[in-house]
Symmetry: C2
Subunit: 329 residues, 2 copies
């Protein structure tokens, strides 16, 4: 295992230490590493809290800040944060306006966020993100997995929370954005979880895992390596087949790297994916390309499409100031 | 070779196609792929033009936009752009105020930018970036190589150009920033150039290349894999030994991934590097962490330190709006 680390037990704390050094103007890291919170709490605003296993950076801590999350709880690598962590985060940032928990659809996350919601004071509502069309259920989830669409939900609901909307309205909006978002990914290599010390799975030199999950979980099937155009066509076919947006719907396209794929290849994928969308009469109204919801150093990428409307587009464009996404301020 | 591409000859054009789709609000890609230019030309401003081989994305095209470059010329992977490309870029964005060429210190780049400077009309000045302390000369350079410090020069000089400063003053500033900037990197794996089809070099499972270049050129020596703290200590020792900033100097720390290293590890390195700086009485006044000057999918990272002053800090903080760096607007 070749990694830039000091020891398996120190990875999480030291990476949060680095995050704190680099972004002290945006966020504050709890001393016990239970959560990362926005530096300045906005009184009266509904708090947005998310989290999950680490290893998907910049998700979620890199999305803490103005116009996105108020706090994120990092578990150990690919391990859910504990209910205590989540409760501490809610207590640190939540107020009378309430807290919206944004949870990716994995059984461990659901259970721990649920337990946290039961022990904290004040109103709490949970929304679940399940945008991955690859498989209907998996080793880690009942129903579809939550993947890169999570950042779309966090961004758009985060912008709406900044406007002062109430808890119920934000939950409705978040569920609506999740309902209009679909993703699917492909892996060209496995990642290695530090505590495991060896690759999660193995692929032959000419194989890829179509529909892979962000923990290296199996997807639909293992197939021979194909061209960017062919891969984009399969991913986009599955996404649009399920989402079925009417022609003319303005779309947000996210081309997300899993950690080990260079930006040059992600832009090749963006080129292929955008051509497929416009070929179906779907304008690419917004596009985000980069490694945002990763699986450590896994090579591969996912596509995400969100069917936008004027409101969602305006919220996407609103100012955001986080470690990983920043514009307008 | 496992890559998300359609064919070796199409990588560059299709990745620029994706860049164009994703960032049409910021930049414009020349139809013949000779250059990427800022969407809106600012009359009367000195134009900043850079470029070099592709494969280092987001450098340089990802740094085109307000507060940074006016144009970037992408060569084929790890291959200098041609004089014709560079001349076309200068003609597209340069005006009576003149053009500043920002060139990384590699022989091919120097020669081609020099030839371009001779054939274009209007005043042109060249500054050379040579921040890599790893080796005094290399297979590709006479004198030190230009690496991640390039983005620091492009950012700070770009902000100054936006203020309306003249060509001579910008060249002086750029040389000063280069003179206050040092970098060094380490590779844990090689990358594979698409046209070569196999890794540029090979490392054993427990080896790393200390002082590696951004094309996989050899560094100082091949050593056993070490901890993040030990790696940071060697890199920072070489950087600070050469830069020798007086205690109390506010520093910019850039922790740059080479493309295949996850963000989590880069933040671990940031944590180690920041501790070393503060331990020497050098405050980390600004910090940038991410994969900005890459070597395709190479695993590894580099550290860059720039000794700041009030002016450089204010210019670093000024609004920038590019595909890869964006804040304040």
């Amino acid at each position: 295992m070749k990694k830039l680390i000091n020891g398996i037990d120190m990875v999480l704390g030291e990476s949060l230490g680095g995050l704190s050094v680099a972004h002290a103007d945006i966020l504050h890291v709890d001393e016990a590493f239970r959560f990362v919170r926005r530096r300045e709490i906005v009184p009266g605003k509904v708090a947005l809290v998310s989290g999950g296993g680490s290893g998907h950076e910049p998700l979620h801590a890199g999305f803490v800040g103005r116009g996105m999350l108020d706090a994120a709880c990092p578990g150990q690598v690919f391990t859910s944060p504990t209910p205590d962590q989540i409760a501490a985060a809610v207590e640190a940032v939540g107020g009378a306006a309430g807290t919206l928990l944004i949870v990716k659809n994995y059984e461990g996350d659901l259970m721990n966020f649920e337990m946290a919601a039961e022990i904290v004071a004040g109103p709490v509502t949970t929304i679940i993100v399940d945008d991955d069309v690859a498989v209907e259920s998996s080793a880690h989830s009942t129903g579809r997995r939550g993947v890169a669409g999570t950042l779309v939900v966090e961004r758009i609901v985060g912008a709406a929370a900044e406007e002062g909307r109430g808890l119920a309205a934000l939950a409705t909006l978040g569920r609506s954005i999740n309902g209009r978002t679909r993703s699917m990914g492909v892996a060209l290599s496995s990642c290695t979880v530090p505590a495991a010390g060896r690759p999660t799975f193995t692929l032959a030199a000419d194989e890829m895992e179509m529909g892979v999950g962000i923990h290296g979980e199996p997807g639909r099937r293992r197939v021979p390596l194909a061209s960017a155009d062919a891969i984009a066509a399969e991913l986009m076919g599955a996404i649009l087949g399920d989402l079925a947006p009417p022609a003319g719907t303005p779309c947000l396209l996210v081309v997300n790297g899993f950690g080990g794929t260079p930006l040059m290849e992600l832009y090749v994928m963006a080129n292929s994916a955008a051509r497929l969308l416009t070929g179906r009469g779907l304008p690419v109204a917004r596009c985000l390309v980069g490694s945002f919801v990763t699986s450590l150093e896994m090579a591969g990428a996912s596509l995400t499409v969100t069917a936008l409307d004027d409101e969602a587009m305006a919220l996407w464009d609103a100012p955001v100031r986080t470690a990983a996404l920043r514009w307008g301020c």
